[in-house]
């Protein structure tokens, strides 16, 4: 069975590594990493990942703008990972089609929970 493919987008390497670490035991395959919005869009096009972790605050295209761009794409499961955990941000993200919202600092349990949600929704 093909593994779930994941794309991680964040301009800070430590965060990307952290997310990758927490994803290790969860039976997913990390197919790519991007450091900004443009790269993210390219990689999403070429790699067609199942899940994408998106930081909001990035140079160039922000996470929310990316959400707008992929709004009509039903085959992708976008999860916002953001340092801003305020209500407006959460609501906006969800309204824009985010399937999950994780605030930084990232707790491992949240990563586990979102992968669980992905698995449930895809079954």
């Amino acid at each position: 069975m093909p593994q779930t493919s994941v794309l991680i987008v964040d301009d800070v390497k430590d965060i990307r590594d952290l997310i990758a670490l927490f994803l290790e035991d969860l039976e997913v395959e990390i197919v790519g990493e991007a450091i900004d919005g443009h790269q993210a869009l390219d990689l999403m096009d070429s790699l067609q990942p199942d899940i994408v972790f998106l930081d909001i605050n990035m140079p160039g295209v922000t996470g929310l703008e990316i959400l707008d761009k992929i709004k009509d794409n039903n085959s992708i499961f976008p999860v916002i990972v953001s340092g801003d955990g305020d209500f407006e941000t959460i609501k906006t993200s969800l309204d824009k089609g985010a399937q999950g919202f994780i605030a930084k600092p990232i707790d491992e349990s949240k990563i586990i929970q979102i992968i669980d949600k992905y698995k449930i929704t895809k079954c």
Binding site: D14, I90, K104, P105, I106, D116
Partner: protein, 878 residues
């Protein structure tokens, strides 16, 4: 009958008519024939007569001629000549008649005519010759010759007239025939008349008999129905009917009987008897000894004209009842055989029972059925009306009671709270008042719960949730709840198990406990000294688990034990005042017991005590372990009644609740359970906190400002949180629970919160704290260590960069750097770094340089110690 009669009439009439027609036809045919014959004969006769005349004339003339020839007297000769002339004259007449008549006689006339005419002319000649006295010799010879041959001729002539006698024979025969026909006609005619008369009589008799019968049956029915139209009670109507029919039938007794074969009972529920017998209504006889024992088994009416001469003469009922005549029919009520209606007499029947009699008793049996059914229906309606009125009265009483019950504790609560508010009380008073408030609040809570429970039960809304439960555990819990209070009152409290006892059964633990607590509460209320005992045992074959709550209290009368299960009614009208309670507990308990597949009954002796027996269905017992010894029921241990201990739970929970008092309360409970708790004042805050921090469970109140509980739950689920969420709700209705579950919550707790229930719910989702609290879990140690290494190595440079930005008031840089630090600290084991960075971040947005500088100092300190700690903890490298 009527139909038969008319058939008979028609048949008879047809037959008679037919006979008559035949006779008439026959007669007329015969008569026609005869009259024809007679006509013929008459014609013949004339013909014969004429022929006779001719013959006679010829014969006479011949004779005369002879005499003339013989005589010599001239006088005689003259006489004879005139006679001759007369004869000649006759001949002429006859000849004329014959010639002018009779076509069909022609052949006969013709055949003899020639002979006669020849003869006639001869005779003429001779006569003429004889007239002459002087005859020549030749003439004399001719005359002699003629006379000699005359007799020969006469013979021949006679032969021609032979048919004479035959014709007269025929004539005679025909007349006879006519006579006999006439006789036959007369005979048959008379017979017909006689037969016809008889048939008519018989028919008429039959008709009038059946008409008479019908008239009498109709009359009898009419008379009976007249009674049913009288404005008297049904019982009186039945009596009058029995009396009337008994008199019509000339019987001594008429009765309606209720028959109970299993008890060999025959009750004369309605009876008419002649004055000399005067048998009372309601007499009970042994069924066997009455004829009704036979009658009620038969679908057709039983009619015995004379018992002594019947097949029943050896029956017991004959020897006992001494009745010689009997007629009866079954009486059915509502499709079931009820008894009989019967008429009997010590004298045999003068005339046998008729079909009409049987028809009539069948009719009467039907009427009595209907009448009795009507009576029963009327009684039921009256009873129902009474019960409805009673229920109405009870409901009104209840409302009055409830209004009082609710107001009383409210008064205490509000009153004492008000006093506390005003201040100015001693410590003792404060303690008294607060405990009173709690007590009254509890009581009020109980009352409202009871009312709600009862409403739910009556509306069929009560949910039973069965699971595998340990009855001994439940009883132990009861012991802890009820036992201490009971012992405080100076009573002994014991639980007794009868072996073998099931370790588990399949039932609803909450409802079972509810029942037991209610019963124990009652036992305690009404017992001043002695003991309360719960005895429990299992009825395997009936799949029932039984609990007996036995007290040595004031007890109740039989009547009272019936009353107490009725809603809104207690044993005594003063009970509420003396003992409190809602009057609903037992009603609810019984209904619950029934819903659990069992029942609740009460046995009591006034002054001695009461025993309430609950049974519940156990579910399948084949897979259940049974304990044979108390020691095998492991949950039994004496509780320390002073402190209630909870197994500590482990976790960090979030409470979303806007009411600060509730926050305080729940936080108190949570800490009692060993949990740490965080607060959010509304839904939005709850979502934010849930996102930003890690919790093991969320308690979400339904009603909150800004964003309510349900919406928040939905959002949390949308975000991807799979935490257990417990809703706090003030409404306990089923639909609310469904709403909670639909929104995504796991479970719910009703307000006001009961600490035990609260613990149970939380314990369902949080692990028990078995280990040292301070232990922290670090997984993925090596990898995380590596990353943490990275972070820690980078930290000093990040701090330096941040400092620079602050010094240079590059607020954008300060913001973004602090934002990054904030997002990393906790992940790498430095929550303090996250915390301070967050503050710096906020302050930098506000561009509050003073605060930022101060915070930076804090941050630097923390980072320095973190770095040094980290370095110290590293294994020596190299």
């Amino acid at each position: 009958m009527i139909n038969n009669s008319s058939k008979t009439i028609i048949l008879a009439a047809s037959f008679v008519f037919f006979l008559i027609s035949c006779l008439v036809l026959f007669a007329s045919k015969k008569m026609n024939e005869n009259s024809e014959s007679l006509n013929d004969m008459t014609e013949n006769q004339l013909f014969e007569e004429h022929l006779s005349s001719i013959r006679n004339s010829i014969v006479n003339r011949a004779f005369i001629l002879f005499k003339i020839h013989e005589t010599s007297s001239p006088i005689k000769r003259e006489k004879y000549f005139s006679e001759f002339q007369v004869e000649l004259h006759n001949f002429e007449i006859a000849k004329q008649a014959l010639n002018s008549n009779n076509d069909h006689q022609d052949h006969r006339w013709h055949s003899i005519k020639t002979a006669i005419m020849e003869n006639h002319s001869n005779q003429e000649k001779i006569a003429n010759l004889l007239r002459n006295n002087n005859q020549s010799q030749k003439e004399a010879l001719l005359i002699n010759k003629f006379i000699l041959t005359q007799s020969e001729n006469m013979t021949g002539m006679t032969k021609l007239f032979n048919f004479d006698s035959e014709h007269s024979k025929s004539h005679y025969k025909i007349v006879n025939d006519n006579n006999s026909t006439r006789n036959i006609l007369l005979f048959f005619g008379f017979s017909t008349i006689i037969i016809g008369t008889f048939v008519t009589r018989a028919t008429v008799r039959a008709i009038s008999k059946s008409e008479a019968n019908m008239i009498s049956q109709g009359e009898r029915i009419r008379e009976l129905y007249k009674i049913s139209a009288l404005p008297i009670s049904i019982d009186e109507q039945i009596y009058e009917m029995l009396k009337l029919e008994a008199q019509v039938l000339d019987m001594e007794i008429g009765k309606v009987c209720k028959i109970e074969p299993e008890e060999d009972k025959n009750t004369f529920i309605h009876i008419y008897s002649i004055p000399s017998l005067n048998i009372p209504q309601g007499r009970v006889a042994k069924l066997e000894r009455t004829f009704c024992s036979i009658a009620y088994k038969r679908e057709e009416p039983l009619a015995i004209d004379h018992v002594k001469r019947s097949e029943f003469k050896d029956y017991i009922c004959y020897s006992f009842s001494q009745q010689e005549s009997y007629i009866a029919h079954q009486v059915w009520i509502k499709g079931e055989l009820f008894g009989t209606i019967s008429f009997s007499s010590s004298k045999p029947r003068k005339a046998p029972f008729t079909e009409v009699d049987k028809e009539l008793i069948r009719l009467m049996a039907n009427w009595v059925s209907v009448a009795l059914e009507r009576k029963m229906a009327a009684e039921e309606t009256t009873k129902a009306k009474q019960m409805a009125e009673q229920a109405n009265v009870a409901k009104t009483n209840f409302l009055a009671n409830m209004s009082h019950e609710i107001r009383t504790p409210l008064t205490a609560i509000i009153g004492f709270a008000d006093s506390l508010n005003k201040g100015n009380y001693s410590e003792e008073q404060r303690d008294q008042w607060t405990s009173s408030i709690v007590r009254n609040g509890s009581h009020l809570h109980q009352i409202i719960n009871d009312i709600l429970d009862l409403s739910k039960i009556e509306a069929g809304q009560l949910q039973i949730e069965k699971s595998d439960i340990s009855p001994s555990q439940i009883l132990t819990e009861i012991d802890s709840i009820v036992g201490s209070r009971t012992r405080d009152k100076g009573l002994t409290f014991n639980i007794v198990y009868q072996m073998p006892y099931p370790k588990t059964v399949f039932s609803d633990p909450i409802r079972l406990k509810q029942i037991l607590i209610n019963l124990c509460g009652n036992a305690q209320k009404f017992t001043e000294n002695g003991s309360i005992t719960i005895k429990s045992y299992c009825d395997k074959s009936g799949h029932q688990l039984i609990f007996e709550v036995i007290d040595t209290g004031i007890g109740m009368t039989e009547e009272q034990t019936q009353k107490i299960f009725k809603p809104f009614s207690q044993a005594d009208s003063s009970t509420t005042r003396k003992f409190g309670g809602t009057g609903l507990g037992l009603t609810i308990s019984r209904q619950l017991a029934e819903k659990l597949g069992g029942d609740l009954i009460c046995q009591s002796t006034i002054g001695k005590g009461s025993n309430f027996i609950i049974s519940i269905n156990t579910g399948p017992l084949t897979v259940i372990d049974f304990a044979t010894d108390l020691s095998q029921l492991s949950e039994i241990k004496r509780y320390d009644h002073q402190t209630v201990e909870y197994n500590l739970l482990k976790g960090h929970i979030l409470l979303a609740e806007d009411n600060p008092d509730n926050q305080n309360l729940i936080s108190l409970y949570a800490s009692q359970f060993g949990l740490s708790i965080d607060f959010a004042d509304n839904g939005q805050q709850a979502v934010e906190k849930a996102v930003q921090q890690k919790y093991d469970l969320i308690l979400m109140d339904m009603q909150m400002p800004v964003m309510g509980g349900l919406e928040s739950v939905q959002m949390l689920r949308q975000m991807g949180s799979t935490l257990p969420i417990i809703m706090l709700t003030a409404n306990a209705m089923t639909c609310d629970k469904d709403k909670c579950l639909e929104a995504g919550a796991e479970d719910y707790v009703t307000k006001p919160i009961n600490i035990d229930k609260f613990y149970q719910v939380l314990a369902g989702y949080l692990p028990k704290d078995e280990s040292n609290k301070n232990a922290t879990n670090i997984d993925n140690s090596t990898e995380l260590n590596k990353l943490t290494n990275n972070f820690m190595n980078k930290l000093p440079s990040m701090i330096t960069e941040l400092n620079e930005a602050v010094d240079n008031l590059h607020w954008d840089s300060v913001q973004s750097l602090s934002h990054i630090l904030k997002g990393m600290g906790t992940s790498f084991g430095q929550p303090e770094i996250t915390r301070i960075s967050a503050i710096i971040n906020k302050d930098s947005i506000k561009q509050n340089s003073k605060a930022v500088v101060k915070d930076m100092a804090d941050l630097k300190n923390i980072c320095d110690s973190a770095i040094s700690d980290f370095k110290n903890n590293q294994p020596k490298s190299g």
